[in-house]
Amino acid sequence: MSADFPIPQAVVAPELAWVGLALLLPLVSAVLCTVCAIARLPGKLPAVFTVLALAASFVVVLRAYNAYSGPVQVPIFEWMSFAWGDGRFQQFTAPCALYIDSLTLFWMLFVTGLGTLIALYASEYMETEKGAGYARFFFGISIFLFAMSSLVMGDNLVMLYLGWEGVGLASYLLIGFDYQRPSAVAAAKKAFIMNRIGDLGLALGIFMLWANYGTLQYSQLFQAMNSGGQTVVDWDVSLIPFLLMLGAFGKSAQFPLFTWLPDAMEGPTPVSALIHAATMVTAGVFLIARMYPFFALHPEALATVAWIGGGTALLAATIGMAQYDIKRVFAYSTISQLGYMFLGLGVGTTYGACYHTFTHAFFKALLFLTAGAIMHGFAGQLDLRKLSGVRHIPGWRLVSWTMFIGCLWLAAFPYTAAFFSKDAILLKALTSTRWDFVFLGWLGLFTAALTAYYTFRVWFRVCCGPVHFEPAADGHHADASPDAHGHGNAHAAKAGHAADHGFHPHAPKWAISTVLALLAIGTVAAGFPAYNEAFAHGTNWAQKMIAGSSAAAGAQAVEHAAAPGAGANADHAALGTVLGMDAHTGLLVVGATASIGGILIAAYLHLLSRASADALRRALLANWFIRWLPICMERKWFVDEIYHGLFRLPLWLGSQVLHFGDKHFLDGVLVDGIARIPIAAGKLFRPLYGGALQGYAVSMVAGVALVLAWMTWVWLRGFE
């Protein structure tokens, strides 16, 4: 990293302390929710508090955006700070303060915005949980928003870590919201623990940054980088990106640590939409974007990110193709899309990655919320084999079509926002000078086709075709888990097996509908920056936002290091070619082909001739040489089983051995054994003390003899 691409320096601006309200308001709402729970206040009061607080916090962020003129550092109060000397390395400073630059605002805008909308949605969705459960839910949401804000807006890595674990806690509480169901509890536990593994990496990365730079505040870290800080000089330093990466992969469900996310769908759907699709899982992307300059500390760090991202994208897409539970399909699609973002970060386009995060947040939240609406209305049914033609049921049109929009965006249909954001990533990869990035680019394109296929598989199956539905029943199918709320279960119990038993889906009411509509509009609008650039040749707002932050400076430096001589504004100049065409055109063609191809295949298999899909599956399974593929895809590549066998089982057995050893060897043999020595010695001499006179005499004489022997020994030695 050289000073050629300086990271904008932050100004200390205590007068902006009001931005801290964005953190404080969700916390206040959390407290109010607690009060509601304690006082057993009836009604939707918690939801009101939460929605109001989140909306206010959104407004605060908007105002901050308006007031924004450059990176600022806003001190609030001292949290953990002490010094034992005057030197730079003789202090530990982690104040409660805000660091606001364009990246922060970019993230906070969609976090608080989507948070507000989803809270509104949940106010209706969770209405069957009135009372303590209702308050508990909104407590979780508020805590989540607080933690996420702290993660994004924190001035230092310790605050980021606070938010990082805080969102993990919120995730834990909300996944396990329906705590009576063991699967939900297990999923919550799994999510927290797998995240903890990543968190350890993050914590170690933080320590290493501190050990090497003597500070944990972004502004000072960036200053150190600007003033010609280290490049690859030191084994310690070059490990930093890898450790941070581990944290990011944990939180964003990337390859080694992704299995918790599908399980997290045990949580109520708004939670899945907000936390496990739109916001929390993008924290990893945020972390890498925020610390981007430090990823140049090792030449292969970003390549690792790219490989993991690309690989996870494909892996998750293959699994998503073979799932039947709508939420799980979307969960795997989330992992896959997150993979794209990491691919973007890895190949050097922070803009692409962040913009994709932005667009993804909208359409994925939309998709989840429509899935939630269906689940809400169909008594927890999420198996796409048991739902069909929802589009034709009265009252469900809005849901179907907003879902369609979401699917189009997820499939990266040409000229949708996601198309542009994905393009930015793939373009960067395909035009890279590194062969492996080009390969990853093609892999990404293939994954895009798969994405288009499985996305529309869901939509064609659920929304089109003949009208047919079954409410979920307990134990009816194993692989799709019923949703959390008791409402669905109650219905299921009443409704029995099929529709003709008097089950009627109830269409969403105003809150859900409004939110779906708003989100659909948001999804479309999210493409505006790209449209402005592509069609009006105006400025790309998103790109501008990213370019003003640490992420861009790092990207330029990486770019510079990879291809010295290329200009700073590399996205426009000196682009390579794709299939012999101009890069933009080429990618438009290829991307459109992949997307439309995927959709067409889905249309054939799941709309026009559903029988052929089953026939294809049977044919694949019948073929001895190819059957591993569908089996692996359906069984999620056995990752859970492998982890179980590789880590959990040996550790568990080891624990049992240790437990046994502790009880019977360490305590039983060693400690008790040593304690038994005096007892045994006592038993040995016991006959001497049976009360008979001679016994005492013997011991007395022995004692006298011993003492005299010693004295004589000393005395005799005196003569030598």
Binding site: A692, V698, V701, V704, A709, T712, F719
Partner: protein, 327 residues
């Protein structure tokens, strides 16, 4: 200087004693006896050889060794014999050989008092009590003695402890011999003490002075207030007035005029240890009183005990015989 050979002899003696103590076959006891005698001899020889013996002392040493042999053998019999009466008799032998040893060590008074008091008085008491508590022949179950006299209790531990103690005590013997200077100083001090003892006995002094010189009329204190002064050649000088003369003159007393053993013991007892002597008297008095008390209790308890033996419990017995207790 650690006398390893002596320790080995002690170990052998210990083994021998153990063999004698264990309820074993006659052959083992014989072997034990042989081994014991051998090891005692070995110990004695070891000691004698450790220090050169001048020819003039050979007789003394030989006699000592003989008495030693007798007393140790008798002592072993005391503790190994199954019949208590024989043990007591062997003890008499120990006392007599001890008295002989005392004579050899020029302690004639002690020797006689040992024989008179120990062998004569104490041992007779023992024998008397032994007779009193004699088991009826039926109790012995056909063996030569009752079980608790035949079977030793934890002989191994006891013998080990005992002989470790012996080895330790015996080590003292192997300390370097006292220097001649020490012995000389002892001798001078002893003679001086003996002469000054004599100085405190005016009659004896006058008698000794007259033995040295029949002319002596009276012994007078010397100019420094003392009655007698020891010379460098172990003789003593006293001031005497001879015949009718009033002037004092010196008279040298030769060592042959020193007091005999019994006189010196008596003198020492009353001049150096008068309090101890009184205390000894008190002890004896107490012992006598104690014996009287015990004898009284004996008769009181006897009833109770007999009743218990008869299977009557104490309460019932006392209720059943109010008349007798009144009587």
């Amino acid at each position: 200087m650690v006398p390893t050979i002596f320790y080995a002899a002690c170990a052998a003696a210990a083994v021998a004693l153990l063999m004698l103590l264990l309820p074993a076959a006659k052959k083992v006891r014989m072997a034990g006896t042989v081994l014991g005698l051998a090891s005692i001899a070995w110990i004695l020889v070891t000691i004698v050889r450790a220090i050169p013996v001048p020819d003039s002392a050979l007789g003394n040493v030989g006699m000592t060794a003989l008495c030693a042999f007798i007393s140790v053998a008798a002592a072993v019999r005391v503790i190994t014999h199954h019949r208590p009466v024989y043990s007591a008799l062997y003890f008499v032998l120990v006392v007599i050989s001890g008295a002989a040893l005392s004579v050899l060590l020029s302690a004639e008074f002690v020797a006689f008092s040992l024989v008179i008091v120990y062998a004569g008085a104490i041992l007779i008491t023992y024998l008397f009590v032994l007779m009193l508590a004699q088991q009826s022949p039926g109790d012995t179950g056909g063996a030569d003695a009752v079980e608790y006299d035949r079977v030793a209790r934890e002989p191994a531990a006891a013998v080990t402890c005992g002989f470790v103690l012996l080895a330790v005590l015996g080590s003292v013997i192997f300390a370097p011999p006292r220097s001649t200077a020490d012995a000389a100083a002892d001798q001078i001090a002893a003679v001086d003490r003996a002469w000054s003892d004599l100085g405190r006995m005016p009659d004896a002094l006058l008698e000794r002075a007259r033995r040295a010189d029949p002319q002596v009329r009276v012994v007078v204190p010397r100019s420094n207030g003392k009655w007698i002064e020891t010379q460098r050649d172990l003789t003593a000088v006293v001031s005497v007035q001879r015949g009718d003369s009033d002037t004092a003159s010196d008279l040298v007393l030769p060592p042959s005029l020193l007091l005999d053993n019994t006189s010196r013991v008596g003198m020492s007892l009353v001049t150096r240890f008068p309090v101890s002597l009184e205390l000894a008297g008190v002890i004896l008095l107490m012992a006598m009183l104690g014996a009287v008390v015990l004898a009284r209790r004996q008769s009181e308890l006897a009833d109770d005990e007999r009743r218990a033996l008869a299977g009557l419990d104490r309460l019932a017995g006392s209720e059943a015989s109010p008349a007798r207790s009144r009587g």
